[in-house]
Symmetry: C2
Subunit: 298 residues, 2 copies
DNA sequence: CCCATCACTTTGTCTAGGACAAACAATGAA
DNA sequence: TTCATTGTTTGTCCTAGACAAAGTGATGGG
C-alpha cells in the first residue's frame, strides 16, 4: 500500500549513483526527472523514470554531456544507450545465466577453467564474457542480479584455482588496489590471477583504498609495483588526477601500472606510468619490468 | 599546499558515513562539529574534529543517542568510545598484520583453518578478529590498508576452503545479499561458509544489490530464504525501512533473515523477519527453518 | 510486577532557491 | 596544427524551515 507509485530520492540516489542535489537540479533545469509528490510533498520517482535514468547514466558514462542527453527524447536515449555491440560471440554462459541454474553455471565455469587453464580462461572466456554481460544488461536482456551472481561465482572459482597454485614467488612484489570511488574489484582479481601465474607476489588491497593508504602500504610491504584498476565509470578527469598524484608521491623506483576500462582515459601516460591495455598486456609488462630490472640490479 | 586545514563536507561524509545533511544540522543544533570556512565560505573540517567524529560515530553505533553524546566533553567521548575490549585475546594475527608479512599472514590463516575446521575457524577466530581489528583501528593502532589486506586474504582462504566442500545440498535455497549503501560483503561470505557447511544451497548476490533486484532474484531462483547483511555503519532508520519494504514485497512463504552488526538496530523484528545475532545463531535459525518446514510440508 | 497506551522530545531527512568554481566548448592568435 | 582566452554548462555547497518517525517516560490496568 505504501510504494506503488515509486521510490524516494534517497533510494534513487543509491540505486543510480547520482547525487540527490544533482537529481533536484536536473529537475529544475531540464524538467527531468519529474517525480510525483506524495502526501508529504516529497518526491516519488515512478519506475519508468528510474529506467530512463539508467539510460541517462549510461550516456553520461559514454562521455555525452547532460545538456545533449536531456535534449534527446526518451526513445532516442534508450536507442543510443543500448547497442554498441550485439557481437557474434554469445556463448553458452549467457544463456546459462538466464536459465537461473546457479549450480550449472558454477559447474560450467569450473569445467572451462579446468579445460583451458587459468590464463586462457581469464583472457579468452572471462574477459569477453564480462563485456557481453555489460552489453546484455544495457540492452535489458539481463538483470542486475544475474550479473552479480556471475561475478560472485567467478570470484569463487578463481580464488579456488589460485589456492592450488604453488606458493607465490617473490620476483616483483605487486600491490593491487582500487582507489576511493571505484567499487569494481573484479578486474583486480583477474589481474592477480594472471600475475600469480607468472610467479609474481601479489598484495591485494581490495577496492576503495585511500591514496594515502596505498602509498603507506607500498612502503610498508616494500612493493616494486603499484597496480591500480579503473572501470569505465571512473571520470576521466579525476582519474588523471589520481594518477598524477600517485606518481608524484611514489618513490621513483616503484613502478605504477594502470589498467581496466577506465585506463583508456590516459591518452599518453606520464613518465613512470604504464597503461595496461588488456590482461595479455599485463604479462608483457611484467616481462618488461623483469628484463629492465635484471639489467641494473641493486 | 592545498589542504593543510582540513577536508570538505563531502569527503567527511564519505569517511565517516554520516550524511551531509546530518553534519550540517549537528552543527546547527549542537555546535559540533564546528568547521572553519575556506575563502569560498565552504566548510573545512580540521583533522582533530574528524578524529572526534569517529568517537561520536562509535558511541552512536553503541546505541547512545546524539543528545547524550554531544553533552559529553571530547575527552569523555574518546574514553568511552575506545576501550570496550582491549580483551585478553589479542592473538598472533594482529601482530602478524602489523609485521607486514603477507605470506606469513596467509599461511597462518590457512593453518588455523586446517586445524580448527571451517565452522570453528569462522566463529572462534575470524569473527573476534574482525572485532579486534575494528577496535585497533579506532584506537589508531592499525592502518586501513592492513585491514584491507586482512579482509582480502581471508576472502581468498575462505573461498578456497569452500571450494573443497562437497556439492551443496538443496535443503533451503538461501539468497545472500547486501543492499545499496552497504559495501561490506565479508559478513556475507562468512554466512555463506556456515550455511554451506550445513548443506544449504547458497546463492550469493554480493554487495549493493538493489531491493527490486533481490526480489526478482528470489523469485527467479525460487529462494526459500533471503538473508541480508548490515554493517554497523548502516543507519538505523534506513535499515528498518529496507526491512519493512522487503518483508512487504516478499511472498509470505519466503523467510527474511537479517544479520551483521547493523541488525542490532532491529530492536524487535517485525513478524516474518528473523534477526541473526551471530554466526552461531545462523545455524540455529537454519535448524528452526528446517523443523518448521518439515512439520508442514507442501 | 509486567505490559499497553498516551503525550512529549529528539533527530534525520526532506524542501526551496541562490551562488559559484571547476570542467567543457568554442573561439582567436601564433 | 597547437596553445591561450573567452563564454557556457554543470555539480556541489550554502541557508533556513518543516515534519514524520523513533525514542523516552509516565500513566493506568491487568
Amino acid at each position: 500500500m505504501s510504494d506503488m507509485s515509486g521510490i524516494s530520492i534517497a533510494a534513487l540516489a543509491l540505486e543510480t549513483g547520482i547525487g540527490k542535489d544533482t537529481l533536484r537540479i536536473w529537475e529544475r533545469r531540464y524538467g527531468f526527472p519529474q517525480p510525483v509528490r506524495d502526501a508529504k510533498g516529497e518526491r516519488l520517482y515512478p519506475p519508468e523514470q528510474v529506467a530512463q535514468l539508467r539510460d541517462v547514466r549510461r550516456l553520461l558514462d559514454q562521455g555525452m554531456r547532460p545538456g545533449q542527453v536531456f535534449s534527446l527524447s526518451p526513445d532516442e536515449r534508450s536507442e543510443r544507450a543500448c547497442p554498441p555491440t550485439p557481437e557474434g560471440d554469445d556463448p553458452g554462459l549467457l544463456q546459462l545465466l538466464r536459465r537461473h541454474d546457479e549450480a550449472a553455471l558454477r559447474e560450467e565455469l569450473r569445467m572451462r577453467l579446468a579445460r583451458e587453464g587459468i590464463a586462457r580462461f581469464v583472457t579468452d572466456a572471462v574477459s569477453p564474457m564480462l563485456v557481453a554481460i555489460g552489453n546484455a544488461w544495457v540492452r535489458g536482456e539481463i538483470e542486475i542480479f544475474e550479473e552479480h551472481l556471475y561475478s560472485e561465482q567467478l570470484q569463487s572459482v578463481l580464488h579456488e584455482a589460485m589456492g592450488q597454485l604453488p606458493a607465490p614467488g617473490s620476483a616483483p612484489k605487486i600491490l593491487l588496489a582500487t582507489l576511493p570511488g571505484e567499487p569494481h574489484g573484479l578486474g583486480l582479481l583477474l589481474a592477480q590471477a594472471m600475475l600469480r601465474l607468472e610467479g609474481a607476489a601479489c598484495i591485494p588491497l581490495g577496492t576503495q583504498t585511500p591514496e594515502s593508504q596505498v602509498l603507506a602500504a607500498a612502503e610498508a610491504y616494500g612493493a616494486d609495483v603499484v597496480a591500480l584498476s579503473y572501470s569505465e565509470n571512473f571520470g576521466a578527469v579525476p582519474m588523471r588526477g589520481t594518477v598524477r598524484r600517485m606518481r608524484a608521491a611514489l618513490p621513483e623506483a616503484v613502478a605504477l601500472w594502470c589498467g581496466g576500462g577506465g585506463a583508456g582515459h590516459l591518452k599518453r601516460p606520464p613518465a613512470g606510468v604504464s597503461r595496461i591495455a588488456s590482461l595479455d598486456a599485463l604479462k608483457e609488462e611484467l616481462l618488461r619490468w623483469r628484463t629492465a630490472r635484471s639489467m641494473q640490479p641493486a
